[in-house]
Amino acid sequence: MALDKNGIAKRIAQELRDGYYVNLGIGIPTLVANYIPEGIEVEFQSENGILGMGPFPFEGEEDADLINAGKQTITARNGAVFFDSATSFAMIRGQHVQLTVLGAMEVAQNGDIANWKIPGKMVKGMGGAMDLVASADNIIVAMMHTNRAGESKLLKECTLPLTGVNCVSKVVTNLAVLEIRDNQFHLVERAPGVSVEEIQAATSGDLVIPDHVPEMNLD
């Protein structure tokens, strides 16, 4: 069965390593914070100026001056730090953040990503996404495998305006985990109960399928 958003987040959480500083984008990536594996300590950075982001505040304890990049009210953990936007992107551009998780509209088999603009429709802007994808060594995209029209979001080439080039290293979708290398998608894991054929059918880019494709372990 294909994963829901929480399932995708749960699978991505397995990519966390002890000591990682992590930037989570808006949407599915935000949910990753709910599934930190036991025995692992990570610290969340939000590009509007906090390191050590905590959970949402208790009702009535919201502080308008304390938000994340999604403009949601949040809290600060013990040991948290606030800083300005230039320092924040110094952390990102300077590769001090070990893992970036973000959503996408399209990912190409060369690692290109498009997630900020649909020509002719409303343009909301790239926010920090272009800085994040251009800087990070370790970028995981969290998204549904196909769009609402049922078309594959894993393409030979992106059709939408790019956010960054050759930057995505891994994609986790509702159907599969895929690695990007040698200009191809490499199928690494299947969602529980999802067949290789389903994944192949939903993938428009070149897909390398090994002999054995294990199911994700989400327990």
Binding site: E59, D65, N68, K124
Partner: protein, 232 residues
């Protein structure tokens, strides 16, 4: 060096139609509410506004958009605003979208006398069109230039009479960077204290960057996305 002005009217004296303004804040967090209200009152128009976001329909820079006072927005993210969308699609409003980190660094550069710098952000995208590309450490970078403004308008938590500022939590964001980059920098603060009351070790914006400071009359501090968890 006393930088205190009487009120918001005096603070914004000299702001004229056609000028370039920088306005601090991220979303509605840390925006100079009192100054924005005054800009509406003054009715100045044809403004170029450099600000990470464009407010919401009825608050923040959205108020200036309603009055069609803005000619051009230089921002990184402008969602959350129907009037913005309408004006942009109709061609009434020019929009220059900039990666958020480049926007922050370009403001800092403007204040620091660094006219241009290389960054990897935006390479290979339409943002890089017409910009010089150079490879460093095996990775392409594009040349970005500094931003400055006729007036930078920032909002701080506390400030002293010399213009030294401190910000609270994530309301800091672009404020200290824009404070550096204004030909004239105006700071509105929640609390104005005498010089010597702020610890010199913990000032976020040294007063040298600030020309005018005043205590804002009222801060609504609207929350854009109220997310909470129930008390256990």
């Amino acid at each position: 060096m006393n930088k205190v002005v009487k009120d918001v009217e005096q603070a914004l004296e000299g702001v004229e139609s056609g000028m370039t303004l920088m306005l601090g804040g991220f979303g509605l967090c840390g925006i100079p509410e009192n100054s924005i209200a005054q800009l509406v009152k003054m009715g100045v128009s044809d403004l170029t506004c450099i600000s990470n976001n464009a407010g919401v329909d009825d608050f923040g820079l959205g108020l200036l958009l309603q009055g069609k006072q803005i000619k051009k927005m230089i921002s990184s993210y402008v969602g959350e605003n129907d009037e913005f969308e309408r004006q942009m699609l109709s061609g009434e409003l020019e929009v220059d979208l900039i990666p958020q980190g480049s926007l922050a660094e370009r403001c800092r550069a403007g204040g620091a006398g660094v006219p241009a710098f290389f960054t990897p952000a935006g390479f290979g995208t339409e943002i890089a069109e017409g910009k010089e590309v150079r490879e460093y450490n095996g990775k392409p970078h594009i040349l970005e230039s500094a931003l400055t403004a006729d007036f930078a308008i920032v909002k701080a938590w506390k400030g002293d009479t010399e213009g030294n500022l401190i910000y609270k939590a994530t309301a800091r964001n672009f404020n200290p960077l824009m404070a550096m980059a204004g030909k004239i920098t105006i700071a509105e603060v929640e609390e104005l204290v005498p010089a010597g009351e702020l610890d010199p070790n913990f000032i976020h914006t040294p007063g040298i960057f600030v020309q005018r400071i005043f205590q804002g009359e009222k801060f609504e501090k609207r929350i854009e996305q109220r997310t909470v968890r129930p008390k256990e």
